[in-house]
Symmetry: C2
Subunit: 423 residues, 2 copies
């Protein structure tokens, strides 16, 4: 046998058992998104590099994205994220859309990164955004959607947490430590690294980075202050609303959460397993200027994105993936011998027309083999139409799980199937 | 206002109203695929160019596909079709899978072609295959699935037709015209061009291409012979089974159908609008050697693919796209004034927890504006909780379509909503 051509590193093959898990997650995403009245949209997978360069600079895009040129010599990108496309689509129809705008989407994305646990080069991402309002109730709604999704897919509040912070709050706190505005983006990154370093090590790193000893100490104290949110009227209001939404046990203030992206202006949040070592499950926040960055007029918004890779790992960690996912067939109609093909097919069609998911075994074969086929595929009910059954106008059914076997008149078949499927 | 960065030629933005149509088509695809017991799978969007070169030659792939190199210098392709990926996935697990294998998939594909009516550079495609059996009942099942889909999505047999032919039948007929084996692939293409040329013109083209005058005449007669299928035991059996499946009025023999791809070995079929000038809606056939081409052992199979662009045009032509697609919210909960935000949000959460799709207006605003917002989004029911309602423990509802308006006690709200949604 020749060698099989290999697949591309960082991509995934979804065999039916993997696809059933993905489908279950996607269906839950759809359910929660539509429950809050969000409308589904989708952009292209291919965009011009300029779209991302406008937000993050061309060099950064080239490093993290699949970029290639077409015969026309334009630089195209396999989208690494959806937000710039969302901004473009909103800008194009800015004065025809109805605000506040609630949109959600799920589709494939690509990043040229080193594949590792929780990170693939090709992945799927859920995006959900509420655009056109500065109301803090919008922030609360988006955070609630994240929490509700985690709850409804099967995590307990002990297993996952949505950590919330506010950029404006931190900005003011930094100013109180006399940190200059120019240094603030660096300080955001410094805080981000606290978890990954020992205190002494971090202290050296922070002072090397331009902070005074006092500022570094102040920062260390700041991010341990779990009550800091009392100083933020926005967060006070947000947590009040989260309480009313009924998801307060999934949401927690955390002054260490900043989010990497520069365009966030207020609320920022990330969800993690509480166990703690995995990557973030989802993340988002409020932005005020996205549409303007691609050529539209400024529009405030709040939203988040969730990849499919980390959530699936977290669900596996939590043993929260149900058994028996997928739309397996309910009935296998066997073929007794070559003369019985038409009659068996007629029966299969009859059952399918009644709305059942039916597999028809396409040729005569040993019945034992056909039964094993059903068993391996998890099809619970097998129907046999042999010469005896045809002569007596009846049909034999076997339930492969309960091992129950009955022969009924043809006209009673659908009744019996219904009973079997309930058992 | 700056110029908005444009989208890439041949790609599509799916705003919610477009997405709702796409979602409706995809849901119908899922429904029919699972009704016949097929399992969903999906491959990567990125594959090595070798995978396609094995089937169609590297040059052809480079002309028709988006090809680019990675820093590692491998040539990657944005998949132009799924069949080679299917073959690779089956080959990788060839002796662990259960046959006959029924798999279906839907996802994005890319071809570097000139965008025009019915053809985009980025499109979605449904693939469905039955692998591991040579039984003609398998061919009949796949043709039936195509016909059933067209029927269930709303086409009448007068509007669309699945045209079926058999490569072996045509091969024998060509031999009877003393056409050499080497010339047969060329002759397939010649027949394909008959529809597009006048008879005289075609006759010149065919004889220039290597046919004798008699062979060209014979070919013209051959493809007008609607009874030719009686000479094919496979087609005779196929049409018998199609009759039992109950879709005979959607399926018809057509000796001009060949399909472009060389790998088909028996049954071939394509669906068209009967009106006739559009591209084919879907196409497929039987193949015997696909898995072997990527390094596995030979496995017979039959399947088809359908893009999302032509089917949508055909549905629009047939005026078969229903009104009101999409998962619109059912209820808007308004916010009377700033003091009533929490109370209104509590109400919205209560209604949502009962399973309704609810939009919460995120801030106090003129009620008229909030009503117009619901109207524009097609949300049928608006709920108002003003000071009077709060004082009397009641809530006001308005049905925007029937203009009916009632005030009920809070505990009767869900009952009233149920009644409104039925009206």
């Amino acid at each position: 046998m020749a060698e099989i051509i290999r697949s591309v590193k960082g991509t995934r093959d979804f065999y039916p058992e993997n696809m059933a898990v993905r489908r279950w997650i996607f269906d839950k995403i759809r359910e929660i998104s539509t429950l809050f009245g969000y409308e589904e949209y989708e952009g292209p997978c291919l965009e011009f590099i300029d779209l991302y360069a406008a937000k993050s600079g061309e060099e950064l895009v080239k490093e993290q994205a699949f970029v290639f040129s077409t015969p026309g010599d334009d630089l195209l990108t396999l989208r690494p994220e959806l937000t710039p496309t969302l901004a473009r689509m909103v800008a194009q129809q800015q004065y025809n859309l109805v605000y506040p705008l609630r949109w959600w989407s799920i589709g494939p994305f690509w990043r040229y990164e080193k594949p590792q646990r929780g990170r693939t080069r090709e992945f799927y991402q859920w995006n959900i955004d509420l655009i056109g309002t500065k109301a803090i109730a919008a922030d609360a709604e988006i955070v609630t959607i994240a929490a509700m999704f985690l709850k409804e897919i099967g995590f307990s509040p002990e297993q996952v947490r949505v950590y919330v912070n506010n950029r404006r709050l931190m900005d003011r706190a930094f100013s109180e430590l006399s940190i200059q505005n120019e240094l603030k983006p660096t300080v955001f990154r410094m805080v981000d690294r606290m978890e990954k370093m020992r205190v002494n090590e971090w202290h050296v790193y922070a002072t090397d980075g331009g902070l005074s000893k006092e500022q570094a100490d102040g920062l260390l104290k700041l991010v341990e202050n779990d009550l800091l949110w009392h100083d933020s009227p926005e967060l006070v209001e947000l947590f009040k609303l989260i309480e009313i939404y009924g998801v307060a046990d999934y949401v927690e203030f955390n002054p260490k959460v900043f989010r990497g992206l520069d365009y966030y202006t207020g609320t920022v949040f990330e969800a993690f397993e509480t166990g703690g070592k995995s990557r973030s499950i989802l993340g988002g926040g409020r932005y005020d200027n996205l549409v303007a960055a691609v050529g539209g007029d400024p529009l405030p918004g709040v939203g988040f994105a969730m990849g499919d890779v980390v959530i699936e790992l977290a669900l596996r960690d939590a043993e929260a993936i149900p058994e028996g996912l997928g739309d397996q067939a309910q009935v296998l109609v066997t073929v007794f011998d070559d003369e019985r093909v038409s009659e068996s097919l007629r029966l299969a069609t009859e059952i399918r027309n009644a709305g059942y998911r039916v597999v028809f075994y396409p040729e005569a074969d040993k019945l034992g083999k056909q039964f094993r086929f059903a068993d391996k595929l998890g099809i619970p009910i097998v129907v046999v139409l042999g010469p005896d059954e045809i002569e007596t106008g009846s049909v034999a059914l076997k339930h492969l799980k309960t091992r129950e076997q009955v022969t009924v008149k043809r006209e009673m078949l659908l009744d019996q199937l219904g009973k079997f499927l309930l058992s």
